[in-house]
Amino acid sequence: MSAAVTPTAVTPALAADRVTVRFGGLVALNDVSVAVAPGTITGLVGPNGAGKSTLFGVLSGLRRPDAGAVHLAGVDVTARTPQDRSRTGLARSFQQPELFPLLTVREHLVLAYRSRHARSRLWQDLFLAGSLRRPPAGELARVDALLELLSLTDVAGQPACVLPLGTSRIVEVGRALATSPSVLLLDEPLSGLDVGEAERLATALRHVVDHEGLAMLLVEHDVAMVLSLSSFIYVLDFGAVIAGGTPADIRADAQVRAAYLGDADQLQTPEPGDAR
């Protein structure tokens, strides 16, 4: 891992190291290195087609890179499956919410919690009356706390298919958080949310980062929001990292301004919510 792109000296919670992905002749990611420090929000911005979602796929394990490596807390996980990475503490959300339509919001969180904390229940589930036992106190507390934090308590009993898009996104974030991840990848969590929802979610995200010390990588179109939330930001364009630095660095970067030619105003206005 080259020191130049590492924002801090500590071992990053998640790092992509010189990752290259090709789709036929098209190079979607070219030698991209990013690092996410523990306990911080790292932003990832870039115009459409810059390779943000591809990078997300590589980091979460849904896509195998043609070259390069992915490290989770210093361990090379390039060859590991998404399930495996999830169990070692990596969670993500999707641009299009991937919820389970007929499971309730609470069940989404319960399932995610158990997939991390109460594994290997195959035989118990089949042959013991496991379903009749009360859920452990830790599970109840954690799930209730998350529902509360994300203002989902009111819809906890509803199946996901009746939720509006904004709420669906928040449920996805909640499901990811319920696995108690050490790293959380969020793919445009704020798109489709109204201003109020977006601000509430942003507050909740900052809260979990501050209180639980998890690392977060945030892809978001709303550049102003990313600048205000993140402590370190990478800018991708045409599959390559064209800049990396603090919000102030990014605002001052000429290359970034060129990539975001029409969006130069956005870079100037750090107040969250203004851009919508």
Partner: protein
């Protein structure tokens, strides 16, 4: 050798025509037509009716059967059924077409009379002339067969490649949504495609008649071989399907040439060819493309977006009102149902109690489907095989080896477990439709290789299956069956309400979503498959008990598919539906037998078939529908009081929140709620 190639081309040509018809509708309509064999039989039977029974001339009979009845049947089926299936889930598509295949043969018997047909003529004038080509005798029937294959290939190629109609069909294969947006009517194109496909079915049927006679089962078996060619073509590539169909025919013929004709090994190899072809090509697809999934390469982006659940293959179930994530416990109706049966055991005559005991055994087998299809989301077509394995094994242990009966039943169940687990492991990475096809082929293979052995068939009487000492009467047997049914039901309820059950339904809904929270249900699914095999085997042994002997013929795979159809008609995710379906399956024919004239004997299978077809309209099954309506009525009866109480207490009901569901309570009084209310009321 040449004569074997020539002979192989005859049956291969029929496979090729059938495979072309099957891929055509799959590629353009997304429906693999499991009723293809039955439709082929219907047209062939109609041709026989006109030509042999009513002595019409060969040409008019052939023209009417092939060019009028076949295509019209296709159009009719499209209008009443296939049209509604396009956005349905894989399970519903399979079951609805299975319903047609259950329905059509008895309908043909009702329409054309129940006559024993020893020999059926083909399209060649009788007596059939024989020519000698390169020293090999070739009949006129065979020459017509080759001619038809050639004509189908050439006409198909020209139409698809060079005509406007062909362009529209190809556009629809690529993207139905875009086709309709660019001004072509997919409905018209679909009508044409279905007419063509059933025309091909009829052609294959009429060509097969001189070779295999006129038994509906043989037609379905013949088409099962065509399925192998369809798998090889990845369900969509018509030319590959045609070529592989021809090759399968020639391979079968060559095997007969090179292997000793009367050895049991040869007899075992020939029926294994379609299964072997299927496995070889699936392995090839897996190695070459990394996966074998029927949704690969389906449609354009727009089509994928409008497919149910974004085209996710694990979503084998409909969402709106579909079999819910976790249906509620139906304690009152379940207890009531069992109580009624217990009372009936003391009230009814031994004839009816015997039928009920048999029905309870079927209900246990049906629970295996509930487990593997309803919970596991794997549409297996070979549970009847496991039931048969349990039955014959238990009978062997109990009768030939003198084991205690219950120990023999358990042992029979244990034998089925590794089979279920192995098939589960082999098919776990396949798409839903491929799983169905592989398990279907496996079941047919077991029918041919294992269940035909004399040690099991005992020349048609089967091995005696004794009952345990405490259950020698039908009544005691009914109680035994009900007891086992209840035990298995509790197991299923337990799974449904557990983390594993939650995880299984999560994976059915969104694979990507479940991967990222670290769910891997591969192990669970394989385990569920193993448990289901055990349940099916135990049910099979109990069924053999109530029938007094283990007759392998009662556990034929095609019969098992009828079981699945009957169960889905009642409801695939409800234990009570399994019980009702089991009872219906034996009691309904009993009623017809007892109270109606003998000519009505074909009515129950027609009803079972129609029921399965109606699943297209009501994917939950009618049990769930009835339950919803009763619950709705119940809520109406006490509705007013309830709502006021809630408001007074200031309690927020599960439906009283903001969002689209907020309007629900008001809507409830207007229309019966479906599906969702079940989940919420839990």
């Amino acid at each position: 050798m040449l004569q074997y190639v020539i002979a192989g081309l005859v049956i291969g040509g029929i496979y090729a025509i059938a495979a072309a018809g099957l891929t055509l509708t799959y590629a353009s309509a997304g429906i693999l037509n499991f009723s293809f064999g039955a439709l082929a039989y219907f047209v062939a039977r109609f041709f026989y009716w006109l030509h042999s029974q009513h002595h019409w001339g060969l040409l008019p009979s052939a023209v009417i059967a092939l060019f009028a009845v076949g295509p019209l049947l296709g159009v009719l089926l499209y209008l009443v059924l296939f049209r509604m299936l396009q956005l349905a889930s894989t399970l519903i598509k399979i079951v609805a077409t299975l319903g047609v295949s259950v329905c059509v043969p008895p309908l043909a018997t009702l329409l054309f009379g129940n006559v024993t047909i020893v020999e059926a003529p083909g399209l060649a004038p009788e007596p059939v002339s024989v020519y000698h080509v390169l020293g090999v005798p070739v009949t006129m029937d065979q020459i017509i067969d080759y001619g038809c294959v050639l004509a189908v290939v050439i006409v198909g190629f020209v139409v698809l490649r060079y005509t406007d109609v062909g362009l529209r069909v190809r556009a629809m294969v690529d993207s139905p949504a875009m086709t309709s947006l660019s001004g072509s009517s997919p409905a018209l194109v679909s009508i044409g495609v279905w007419a063509a496909s059933v025309f091909l079915a009829g052609l294959a049927g009429v060509l097969s008649a001189p070779i295999i006679g006129l038994d509906p089962t043989d037609y379905t078996l013949l088409m099962a071989s065509a399925f192998a060619a369809v798998v090889a073509a990845r369900l969509r590539n018509v030319p590959v399907a045609v070529v592989v169909g021809l090759v399968i025919g020639i391979a079968g013929s060559l095997v007969q040439h090179y292997l000793p004709p009367s050895s049991s090994f040869t007899a075992a190899v020939i029926p294994s060819i379609p299964f072997a072809v299927t496995v070889i090509f699936l392995v090839y697809h897996l190695v070459r493309y990394g996966r074998a999934d029927e949704t690969d390469g389906v449609g354009g982006a727009l089509d994928r977006a409008i497919l149910p659940h974004g085209g996710n293959r694990r979503a084998a179930f409909p969402s709106a009102g579909g079999p819910g994530a976790r249906p509620p416990l139906h304690w009152p109706p379940a207890v009531l149902g069992i109580a009624v049966l217990c009372v009936a055991a003391f009230v009814l005559s031994s004839f009816w109690v015997g039928l009920l005991a048999e029905g309870a055994a079927y209900a246990i087998i049906f629970l295996a489907f509930t487990l593997v299809v309803g919970e596991g989301g794997m549409i297996w077509a070979c549970e009847a095989t496991f039931a048969g394995v349990g039955a014959v094994a238990a009978a062997q242990f109990a009768t030939s080896h003198g084991w205690p009966v219950l120990a023999a039943v358990v042992a029979g169940g244990i034998i089925a477990v590794p089979m279920g687990v192995i098939i589960g492991m082999l098919t776990i990475r396949l798409g839903g439709l491929y799983v169905t096809l592989v398990t279907l082929m496996f079941g047919l293979l077991m029918d041919n290789l294992v269940f035909t052995r004399t040690i099991f068939t005992q020349n048609g009487i089967g091995v005696t299956m004794p009952s345990p000492g405490f259950a020698t009467t039908s009544r005691a047997l009914l109680f035994l069956g009900l007891g086992i049914f209840c035990a298995v039901s509790l197991l299923i309820v337990n799974i449904r309400r557990s983390t594993t059950g939650l995880a299984l339904s999560a994976v059915r809904f969104s694979e990507a979503g479940s991967k990222t929270i670290g769910l891997s249900v591969l192990q669970m699914k394989v385990l569920v498959a193993g448990v289901a095999a055990f349940v099916a085997a135990v049910g099979g042994a109990i069924l053999a008990m109530s029938q007094l002997s283990a007759l392998p013929g009662n556990f034929a795979t095609l019969g098992g598919i009828v079981w699945l159809a009957v169960l889905v008609t009642a409801g695939i995710r409800s234990n009570m539906a399994a019980l009702t379906a089991g009872m219906m399956f034996t009691v309904l024919p009993g009623i017809v037998l007892e109270y109606l004239p003998a000519s009505w004997g074909q009515v129950p299978p027609v009803l079972f078939g129609l029921g399965a077809i109606l699943v297209a309209k009501n994917p939950d099954g009618w049990m769930a529908q009835q339950a919803d309506q009763i619950r709705w009525l119940w809520r109406r009866v006490r509705g007013t009081r309830d709502v006021t109480a809630r408001v007074a207490a200031g309690a927020r009901g599960p439906l009283a929140d903001a969002g689209p569901a907020g309007a629900r309570p008001a809507a409830e009084s207007a229309a019966p709620p479906r599906g969702l209310s079940e989940v919420q009321d839990r």
